[in-house]
């Protein structure tokens, strides 16, 4: 009954989302109609060239011949100078560029509030025009959905200096929660007699992973199958958070702000992950992985379970695509299952997340006309028609519609050609997570695999809610506070010494840093 209800709810959610984003809808006020005709004022008569940084773009591949670009260029008359950045270094590149005055005209930036306040104070970013909500109504809607527009304006004395990329226009759950799941080899699980639902307890998951290691359904050879792979943070989210929802942060316990890692429950969680690690289920080399290398072990068929953040877009496009490439002949949707890992009582320990990820910021020295042009393009992209253009392309060029089906134009290798416009992050004020909810190429059945997990999490969860007052507090001690709790857990987890003793030593070492912050935060927010 519960399952049927959750399926119905998911379908209703998808239907609502789809209805709210039909491609014909037009609410643009940028002087450009969605048919591509320029308005009488012809604001965009003069060509502009702007530089834009992003991951996933290749400066060796031209965008001039792309139908997407041609269409946008007809409307907005522009050229882009590529500034590619790599996933593993983009955050530090951004810091260097901003602080050296070398930032591109529009920069893909991992919005960090403390840094945002500093940059705004120092005049390093260009403010949005005061009437941005009237001039760019579609972007204004996106901003509203992020839920942080007012907080960001407060830091800039009423002016806005950043455009966060909204994750969902219509959240799949009532509040935004983390997307962490266990992605597992469904075909191996079936062989071993396991059939997992949208949620699985820690013990059940470990038992299945252990069986996969010992019985080797993938035929890797004796002792060569790994149980669980994942980044340290995701592993601790799964095996430590069930013991303390606030294991890695400062939070308000109802009376005062305290430091979660100092609580006994966190130590219990670390003991739990240590016992799982010592049972051999977790990849013994998990701590040496650089970037997202750990995923390769799963896609290459060496590991049975991957703990990872997984939205519809990840599951239906990215991960299944990677799995398909690594395992020709296997159906990714038949071989990959997803499940949320709960504590042993069946409760999912969720993290309330912001409804945005990363952002676009503008160089303080660019002129108003250039900023207006870039924002106008982004405003168009934020319309349903713009979304179809960026993510699907131009009908007749990038795809053809056969009945209800969208048939993509493939290159000589049988793949969709790379689109720089699609890959660029300044074209993603609405992230692919949202598009995946309405992407006509994704079957509802596949979409619901992920949505069911979201709903199942929500049905029985304990949640660490975001504290907006704390998050958006800018104060000297808090702004300089940085302790890497994930690294500390990894150290004690792998240490040969006594776990409790080692953790106590770590607590004692960070205490001089934590105490002044707690004192400041309690005074600023609670008057204590």
């Amino acid at each position: 009954m519960k399952k049927a209800l959750s399926v119905l709810l998911s379908l209703a959610c998808v239907a609502l989302t789809a209805c709210s984003q039909s491609p014909g809808e037009n609410s643009s006020n940028t002087g450009v109609s969605t048919t591509g005709e320029t308005s009488s004022e012809d604001r965009f008569a003069e060509k502009i060239v702007f530089s834009a940084s992003s991951v996933d773009v290749d400066s060796n591949v031209s965008y001039f011949d792309e139908a997407r670009y041609k269409k946008l260029n007809e409307m907005f008359n522009f050229e882009i100078e590529f500034v590619p950045v790599a996933w593993d270094t983009w955050a530090e590149r951004d810091r260097i560029w901003i602080n050296s005055g070398d930032m591109p005209d529009v920069m893909f930036w991992d919005l960090n509030y403390n840094d945002y306040v500093k940059y705004v104070e120092q005049g390093l970013l260009k403010a949005f025009p005061d009437d941005y909500a009237e001039r760019y109504p579609n972007l204004a809607k996106v901003l509203e959905k992020t839920g942080v527009e007012e907080k960001l304006k407060e830091a800039g004395d009423g002016k806005l200096y950043v455009l966060p990329n909204v994750t969902y226009q219509n959240l799949p759950t009532e509040v935004a929660i983390d997307s962490t799941v266990a992605i597992y080899r469904k075909d191996w699980a079936k062989q071993l007699g396991y059939e997992l639902g949208p949620t699985t307890t820690m013990d059940e998951l470990c038992k299945m992973a252990k069986d996969m290691m010992e019985k080797d359904p993938g035929g890797n050879g004796d002792g060569k199958t790994i149980g669980i792979v994942g980044a340290p943070y995701n592993l601790y989210h799964t095996f430590v958070r069930p013991f303390n929802d606030n294991f890695e942060r400062i939070y308000n316990n109802g009376t005062e702000y305290v430091y979660g890692p100092f609580e006994d429950a966190t130590l219990d969680g670390i003991k739990n992950v240590k016992s799982v690690f010592e049972s051999g289920v977790i990849d013994p080399d998990f701590y040496t992985s650089k970037g997202i290398e750990y995923r390769d072990k799963f896609f290459a068929g060496k590991a049975g379970v991957l703990i990872e953040g997984c939205s519809v877009s990840h599951y239906a496009v990215e991960f299944t695509g990677q799995f398909g490439e690594a395992n020709p002949g296997l159906d990714p949707f038949e071989c990959m299952g997803i499940t949320a890992v709960t504590d042993n009582e069946g409760v999912y320990h969720a993290q309330n997340t912001m409804n945005y990820w990363a952002s676009s910021i503008f160089n303080a020295d660019i002129d108003d006309e250039k900023m207006d042009r870039i924002l106008s393009i982004m405003d168009y992209i934020a319309t349903p028609e713009g979304q179809y253009l960026v993510y699907l392309g131009v009908e007749g060029e990038d795809y053809v519609k056969e009945g209800d089906e969208y048939v993509m134009t493939l290159d000589a290798n049988g793949k969709e050609p790379t689109s720089q416009i699609k890959n660029y992050y300044w074209t993603k004020p609405i992230l692919p997570d949202d598009w995946a909810l309405v992407d006509p190429r994704i079957d509802d059945e596949k979409r619901n695999v992920v949505l069911d997990v979201f709903k199942a999490k929500e049905a029985n969860m304990s949640i660490a809610m975001l504290d907006y007052d704390y998050t958006f507090l800018s104060s000297p001690e808090k702004n300089n506070f940085a302790v890497d709790v994930t690294a500390a857990i990894t150290q004690v987890l792998l240490s040969q010494g006594d776990l409790e003793n080692e953790w106590d030593q770590w607590k004692a070492s960070v205490e001089p840093k934590v105490t002044p912050v707690l004192k400041e935060v309690n005074q600023e927010l609670l008057g204590k």
């Binding site: 810091r95 050296s100 701590y287 040496t288 702004n479 300089n480 990894t490 150290q491 840093k513």
Partner: protein, 313 residues
């Protein structure tokens, strides 16, 4: 009055000296300009360590904040950990790594000229041209739990070892890999010093009946000793640089308590955990100051010990 006259005549003689050797000074000029522009000029940027640095107002315009940055530095436990690790790793490098290129050069010198010697020198020098990114990737592949060495141990019936998570192994691993990578290259300077020794000395020693070992001890070693002392002084002067490239690529969170050095600490606080250039510059200034003190002190000590024959300044 006498003092003033003395200074004036010293100035005059300096100008005379410069005019007399004007072409040599002309050759010196590009180097001098380079150092003024790229080394001494930017030193005004060190004032950031005493300022609340603001990019828009620049280095000169940012407000002074006294020693606030240093108060924060000395309150951070990670700084002390990084300082301790830097000193341990650097002095251990001097103890274990510094003699290796010298011994290698002495041994290579004993080989007869020919294809074997040249091949050996090439083989020993080659690893220096591999970046630490490549070397560390090879090491991680070899030493990881599923790596070649553990597979071999497993095959022989021994239990697998967590080499990469073992704090006791990490530092020796640094020294061994650095010796493998740099010793061949480092020996070149000593081989150059050896090649400058007059062959007459060896011929005379041979006539006197000295063996290879005696010639090495009595002729080669005393001849290259000034070079060794200069290199040692420079090594001590660089004690606070414990090898960023190598450690950054080889470390992991499990060994951070023994691997985190001042350079990795500065990198982390500058690029990963927040932007505070005043704080980072403060740590950098502290590091340079200690290096400078060690350099001058060790130079003085070496002069006293050698009776003022060896030293830089």
């Amino acid at each position: 009055m006498a003092k003033q006259t003395k200074t004036l005549s010293a100035r005059r003689s300096l100008w005379k000296e410069i005019l007399r050797n004007k072409y040599i000074y002309l050759i010196l000029l590009p180097g001098l300009i380079y150092y003024i522009i790229f080394a001494y000029g930017p030193m005004y940027g060190l004032t950031i360590a005493f300022k609340d640095y603001n990019v828009r107002e620049g280095i000169l315009g940012s407000p002074w904040n006294g020693i606030d940055n240093f108060v924060r530095i000395f309150r951070d436990y990670e700084f002390y950990l990084a300082l301790k690790n830097t000193l341990i790793i650097s002095f251990s490098r001097i103890l274990f790594q510094f003699p290796v290129p010298i011994i290698l050069a002495l041994l290579l010198n004993e080989l007869k000229e020919g294809i074997y010697k040249k091949t050996l020198q090439t083989v020993l020098t080659f690893p220096n041209f591999l970046s630490w990114v490549v070397v560390s990737s090879i090491l991680i592949n070899l030493l990881s739990n599923g790596g070649a060495i553990n597979n071999l141990l497993n095959l022989m019936g021994f239990p697998r070892q967590d080499f990469l998570a073992n704090s006791q192994i990490f530092r020796p691993l640094l020294y061994i890999t650095d010796i493998w990578k740099s010793a061949g290259w480092g020996s070149i300077i000593y081989l150059a010093a050896i090649s400058a020794i007059s062959p007459d000395l060896y011929e005379a020693a041979t006539i006197d009946g000295a063996g290879k070992f005696q010639k090495m001890i009595s002729i080669t070693w005393p001849s290259i000793r000034p070079t060794v002392v200069v290199m040692l002084i420079l090594s001590v002067g660089g004690v606070m640089n414990a090898g960023f490239d190598q450690i950054f690529n080889m470390e992991n969170p499990a060994v951070r308590p023994v691997s985190d050095i001042l350079d990795t600490y500065i990198y982390r606080i500058t690029f990963n955990t927040g932007t505070d250039f005043g704080f980072s510059t403060g740590v950098g200034l502290f590091k340079s100051l200690i290096n400078f003190i060690l350099l001058v002190t060790f130079d003085k000590i070496s002069r006293i010990i050698s009776g003022h024959t060896n030293g830089i300044f």
